[in-house]
């Protein structure tokens, strides 16, 4: 028993020694644990399937080129096609849905698995736990959708005769960098939103449907309301602007100096709200 007491004291002394280092270790441990629990096993399949959907487009184009003697699209057409694919499918639909799936279940899944108390019974500030879970979701979604964007983009251009030149000597890689930034900011903004929804709603589905409609119809909103959508800021950062349709109400796109800090501030505010909620959170699995 004396050995136990001695050892226990050493653990406590280490804990007191450097709070900053301790919290970094805790943050790292939670992120590793969360990645293992949620993304390296069967539970990540939904996210991987979503992210793999855009790859079907270059694959179909490649197959068409193999079996039909059609001339490939030119670079300008490919650039527009990818802009449509990214803005209306990857961003509006896949990243949005992926964030619902990942961030909306950050706490909900722990409650349904009856495992949340294990975290709440460790010497970790609950705010740090929420931050770690948010960062885990961000790492997972931005990696998966980032990779999906890179592969789809490269595949679309590399099946073109002049695609490699556009990528290496033209603006191709610059466009790709901008799309990756938008994908990352999309995960950041929508992720923070669904993380917060998870603390206010028992199921994220209803608020997600509402938000989806709101974001999807943003082009029809007056300029003031457009500023209350995430997509308004994300689209302004895309390298290839697209027409929003004949019914769209036009407004000035925000500059990157407004859009990027704006999205970062929104995400930080929503994560802060979530950390405030988690401090008073109680465990009552029976009610769920």
């Amino acid at each position: 028993m004396s050995e136990i007491v001695t050892r226990s004291e050493s653990v406590r002394t280490a804990a007191r020694s450097d709070k900053g280092a301790l919290r970094r270790r805790q943050l790292g441990a939670i992120i590793r644990l969360e990645l293992r629990k949620s993304f390296f096993g069967g539970r990540g399949i939904g996210l991987y399937l979503l992210a793999s959907l855009p790859l079907v487009i270059p694959l179909m184009m490649w197959i068409r080129l193999q079996f039909h003697e059609e001339s490939p699209e030119d670079i300008a057409a490919t650039t527009t096609a990818f802009a449509w694919l990214f803005q209306y499918f990857i961003l509006h639909f896949l990243i949005f849905l992926g964030c619902v799936l990942v961030f909306g279940n950050v706490m909900r899944r722990e409650v349904s698995d009856r495992t949340l108390h294990y975290y709440f019974l460790t010497p970790v500030r609950r705010e740090l736990l929420v931050l770690a879970k948010y960062l885990t979701g961000l790492i997972a979604t931005s990696t998966v959708f980032g990779l999906s964007t890179i592969i789809t983009y490269l595949a679309l251009y590399l099946i073109q005769p002049n695609g490699a030149a556009f990528l290496l000597r033209g603006p191709g890689l610059g466009h790709l960098g901008a799309y990756l930034l938008v994908a990352l900011l999309g995960c950041l903004g929508y992720g923070a939103m669904f993380l917060a929804f998870g603390f206010f709603f028992r199921s994220p589905i209803i608020p997600a449907l509402f938000l989806f409609g709101w974001e999807f119809l943003h082009s029809l909103l007056p300029p003031l309301l457009k500023q209350m959508t995430v997509i308004h800021y994300l689209l302004s950062l895309c390298p290839v602007p697209l027409s929003e349709g004949p019914l769209a109400i036009l407004s000035d796109a925000p500059s990157p100096w407004v859009a990027i800090p704006g999205l970062l501030i929104l995400a930080a505010a929503l994560v802060a709200v979530s950390t405030l909620r988690v401090r008073r959170m109680e465990i009552s699995y029976e009610e769920d």
Binding site: V11, R43, R114, T122, V124, I283
Partner: protein, 324 residues
Amino acid sequence: MRAAAKEPVHTDRQVVFENVSKFYGEVLGINRVSLSIPPGITGLVGPNGSGKTTLMNLMVGLLQPTRGTVRVLGIPTDHPEELFRHVGYSTQYEGYPPGFTGYQFVESYLRVHGLPRAESEALAWKAIERVGLTEAAGRKVAGYSKGMRQRIKLAQAIAHQPSVLILDEPLNGLDPMARAEVISLFRELADGGLHVIVSSHILHEVDLISDQVVLLNGGYVVAEGAIEGVRDEMEEEHPAQVLIRCQKPSLLASRVFENDHVVEARIHEDGKSLLVRTRDADRFYLMLNQVILDNDLGVETVMPTDADVNAVYQYLIGGNGEKS
């Protein structure tokens, strides 16, 4: 009825509840609980729904009190960074991270404590060894029996070597051998100065292992303290019963009746035992020693028959506490 009411002691060595109430909406969890729990093994006793789990969840901040305050070793329960260096809790909840082995389950959460890998691994193996699961540590928890799951949860609760160990129905599902080993582990931990707080709805189980008990019913603490002390408090209303098996029960009966605290002395049908009811058990035992010495009674056994927690509980709430 409150058999052993005490003012809470404000000390950094105790688990202290000060006038704590917890309501779930309009449903009562516990009401106006004031108690202090010293080191040693403390049994929380009461039927299902009496408030045992609520009391334990309040101790660790999984629930927030509607009124009052809870402190564990002087630490408020909303300070997890400090609290859980000192507290381990094995809950009743049957949930485990999917796909984890027993070892991974214990080690992963030690890493979340912020411990370096080598130390986490060493502490995890040590805890697993203490609960006797070393051979099964590499198997997935999902494939464990109920008893093994209880033990891996116990390992997880003791792995960081807490000073306060809280265990919600820890003996459920254990076979007799494992039960004896786990009880022995509780005793070992308590003898080392730990608070071991154990809940159970099986009264004789708690009676066997506890240094003190907290009896709960309907969300109220009906008694607390060492079981003998609780029983002593009730002697006026429920005189203590002592069975004495000896060669001359009639003589003993006549002698014990000379004392005003003895309210009944009844000779058993077999003619070899005497059942005495007394309002002062301490004086009775002193007197009995003298009577035995003076009269050469040939005493075989002297046994209190209602000094266990089961009898106390029956007197307090009129049930045996084993039904939900």
